[in-house]
C-alpha cells in the first residue's frame, strides 16, 4: 500500500483497478478509501453517456456525476455505544462541500454544460445535508450562467430511471454519489462500460466508473475491458496526449459499437481477449510504428 501511495505521489497520475473490500472483518478498512484520503482526492467524476450500438432501455443520456469523495458516510467512525447498538457518524463539512460545489460549477463552465443539480436528503438530515445544500446554493450565486436546482435523493433515483435525460451535471455527497453513479451506469450498459476519475489538487487517479471489483468474473475472461480502456484514454487526455486518447477511444467505440464485438455483459459473446485483440487490430493501421519501412542497403 505504501509503495502504491509513493508511486502515485511520484507520478501524479495513476490508473487503478478496484480493490475488493471485505465486510466481515471490522478491523480491515477499505484500501480504496485510504488511498482517497491519503492523496486528498476530494472529487470523483463519472460521466454516463448512452453509446450507439449498446442496447439499453433509455437513449440520449449524458449525465456527469460529481461526487464528494472524502467524508460523509465514509468517515469510518463507528462505535458501539451500548450493547447491540451501533452509532455511525456521517460528517459533512463546509470546507469540503464548498470545494466540491465549486469544482462542479467549474466543470460545468469548462465543458459547456448548462445545469447543475445538487442531490441531498436535507428533509431528513437537515443539518448535515442541509449544510451541503447551502454550500451548493452559495456557490451557484457566483455562476449566474449555469442553471441550478436541487433534488432529494429518493426522488432523484426515481427520476433517473424514468426520465434520465433531464439531468446534466449532478453534485452529490459521498454515498448518494456512489448509489446514483451505479444507477446511471446501469442505464447506459453497466459497470463495464463507464470510466471515472478521482481528482485532488495534486493527483488524479483514473478507474472504472462504478468501482465494482467484479470478483465473480475473475479468471473467466469475460470482463468488459471498455471501462478500463476508456479510463486510460481519459488519463492520456489529462496528460495532454489528446491525439493518442482520441485514437484509442475511437477504436474502442468502433469495435464495440459498430462491429458489435462485445462481452456478455452488454449482450455479446466475445471474450475479454477477443475484444482487446479486435481493438488492437483496429488501431494497428492508424499507428505509424506498424508501417516502418525497412530498407536494406
Amino acid at each position: 500500500m505504501r509503495g502504491a501511495l509513493l508511486s502515485i505521489q511520484r507520478n501524479g497520475v495513476a490508473i487503478k483497478g478496484n480493490i475488493e473490500t471485505k465486510f466481515d472483518d471490522p478491523g480491515f478498512s477499505s484500501m480504496n478509501v485510504e488511498l482517497r484520503t491519503k492523496l486528498d482526492l476530494y472529487g470523483n467524476i463519472v460521466r454516463c453517456k448512452s453509446m450507439p450500438g449498446i442496447q439499453t432501455r433509455h437513449q440520449g443520456i449524458d449525465v456527469v456525476l460529481i461526487r464528494e469523495n472524502m467524508e460523509g458516510e465514509y468517515s469510518n467512525k463507528e462505535h458501539e455505544i451500548d450493547h447491540g447498538k451501533i452509532e455511525n457518524l456521517k460528517i459533512i463539512t463546509r470546507e469540503k462541500s464548498m470545494k466540491i460545489a465549486k469544482y462542479a460549477f467549474d466543470y460545468a463552465v469548462e465543458h459547456g454544460r448548462n445545469k447543475v443539480t445538487a442531490i441531498h436528503k436535507a428533509n431528513i438530515m437537515k443539518l448535515g445535508d442541509g449544510l451541503f445544500l447551502d454550500c451548493c446554493r452559495q456557490v451557484a450565486c457566483s455562476y449566474p450562467q449555469i442553471e441550478f436546482n436541487d433534488m432529494i435523493v429518493d426522488n432523484a433515483s426515481m427520476q433517473m430511471v424514468s426520465r434520465p435525460q433531464q439531468f446534466d451535471v449532478l453534485v452529490l455527497p459521498n454515498l448518494y454519489g456512489n448509489i446514483l453513479s451505479n444507477i446511471a451506469a446501469g442505464l447506459v450498459g453497466g459497470a463495464g462500460v463507464v470510466a471515472g476519475v478521482n481528482i485532488g489538487d495534486n493527483y488524479a487517479v483514473f478507474e472504472m466508473g462504478t468501482r465494482s471489483s467484479g470478483k465473480s468474473l475473475m479468471g473467466k475472461n469475460t470482463a468488459n475491458p471498455m471501462g478500463m480502456l476508456l479510463a486510460g484514454c481519459d488519463m492520456l487526455e489529462y496528460l495532454g496526449h489528446e491525439g493518442h486518447a482520441t485514437m484509442i477511444r475511437e477504436s474502442v467505440l468502433n469495435v464495440v459499437c459498430n462491429n458489435k464485438i462485445q462481452t456478455p455483459d452488454i449482450g455479446g459473446d466475445a471474450t475479454t481477449t477477443e475484444v482487446v485483440q479486435a481493438i488492437i487490430d483496429d488501431l494497428k493501421p492508424k499507428t505509424k510504428s506498424w508501417s516502418v519501412s525497412l530498407v536494406y542497403m
Binding site: E87, L89, V161, S212
Partner: protein
C-alpha cells in the same frame, strides 16, 4: 383521500372513516397526539404524505412522518413492486417486495455541529430493530410463498453498523432453510435494479437504502402515483403510497394520480378481511388503467383527469 371515500361509497364498503388533518405548515391541523390515538384505537389507517421542508430554522429536527412512525412503532415498511397489467413501462412482469426498517438508521434526527462548519449526523443501527425487521422479512416471505430474501447493505464501508444489520439477517436466515438468502451492496443493487430487476424477490434493508430503493423501484413500474405501500407495527397497520412524495405542486389541480392511494386502500380492506370489496375496487382500478387509458397526465403523459 376524497377519491378513496367516493370509491368506497360506490362500492358499498362497510367502513366508517375518522378523518384527521395533519400538517407541518398549516395551523388548522390536528395534534399529533390525536392522530396517534386515532390510529391506536382503530388499528388501521390510511395516510397521505406530509411535506417536510428541507430548510432548518431551529427547533426540532424530527419530521412529522418520523414522529408518527416512532409513536406507533411502525418498524416495517412494505412496498410491493408489481407491474400494472396494460401499463407500459420499460420492464414487464416485475413482482418483488421491498421491506424497509423505518425507525432508526439515518433517520435518527441526531445531528450537531461538532466544530464551526463541521456537522456530524448519527446513523444508529441496533440489534433489536435489525433482528425484528429481518424476522419480519422472512415471515413475510414464508406467508406470501416467496423464495428468496436479499439483504441490502453497505457493510464494506460501514462495517460495524451495516455489518450488524447483515449479521442479524444471517442469523435469522438460518431458521428459514426453505428460503434462499443472499446479500448485496446497495450501489450494486441499484445497478441490478435498472439492468436486471427480475432477479429480486423479497428485499430487506435499513432505512435510507429502503427509501432510495422504494423510489427507484417505483420508477420502474410507473412512478410514485401507482405504487401502494404499507407500514406495520405490532398493533397498528398504516397504508399509504409506496414512494412517499407529498406532490404539493398538485394540490387543488386535480391532476394527481389516485391509483396508489386507491390500491393502498384496497390493501387496507384486505388487512381487515374485507376481501370481497378490495377485489371489487382493485379490479375496477386495473380495468381503468388497462382498457380505458384514462391516465393522469403528470406521470403517464395523457391529458385526462
Amino acid at each position: 383521500m376524497t377519491s378513496v371515500k367516493d370509491v368506497f361509497t360506490s362500492a358499498g364498503v362497510p367502513v366508517d372513516f375518522e378523518e384527521l388533518f395533519l400538517s407541518t405548515t398549516l395551523s388548522r391541523a390536528a395534534s399529533l397526539e390525536s392522530v396517534v390515538d386515532s390510529f391506536k384505537q382503530n388499528g388501521v389507517g390510511l395516510k397521505g404524505i406530509i411535506t417536510t421542508p428541507s430548510s432548518f430554522k431551529g427547533g426540532i429536527l424530527q419530521t412529522l412522518n418520523m414522529k408518527l412512525r416512532n409513536e406507533l412503532d411502525l418498524f416495517a415498511n412494505v412496498v410491493l413492486i408489481k407491474s400494472l397489467p396494460g401499463f407500459k413501462t420499460r420492464h414487464d412482469n416485475l413482482n418483488f417486495v421491498v421491506i424497509r426498517e423505518q425507525i432508526e438508521g439515518e433517520y435518527s434526527a441526531k445531528e450537531h455541529e461538532a466544530d464551526p462548519g463541521v456537522i456530524e449526523s448519527l446513523k444508529i443501527i441496533t440489534r433489536k430493530n435489525s433482528e425484528r425487521i429481518a424476522k419480519f422479512a422472512f415471515q413475510y416471505a414464508t406467508k406470501h410463498k416467496r423464495k428468496k430474501v436479499t439483504a441490502v447493505h453497505k457493510a464494506n464501508i460501514m462495517k460495524q453498523s451495516d455489518g450488524l444489520f447483515i449479521r442479524c439477517c444471517e442469523e435469522v436466515a438460518q431458521f428459514y432453510p426453505q428460503i434462499k438468502f443472499e446479500t448485496m451492496i446497495i450501489d450494486n443493487c441499484c445497478m441490478q435494479l435498472v439492468s436486471n430487476p427480475h432477479q429480486f424477490d423479497v428485499m430487506v434493508m435499513p432505512n435510507l437504502y429502503g427509501n432510495i430503493v422504494d423510489n427507484l423501484a417505483a420508477g420502474l413500474v410507473g412512478g410514485a402515483g401507482v405504487v401502494p405501500g404499507e407500514s406495520f407495527g405490532s398493533d397498528v397497520a398504516v397504508f399509504e403510497q409506496g414512494a412517499r412524495h407529498a406532490f404539493a405542486e398538485a394540490i387543488g389541480k386535480n391532476i394527481a394520480n389516485p391509483t396508489a392511494t386507491l390500491l393502498s386502500a384496497c390493501n387496507m380492506l384486505k388487512h381487515i378481511n374485507l376481501h370481497h370489496h378490495a377485489g371489487l375496487i382493485e379490479e375496477a382500478v386495473y380495468k381503468v388503467v388497462r382498457e380505458e387509458q384514462v391516465c393522469i397526465k403528470f406521470d403517464v403523459h395523457v391529458r385526462q383527469t
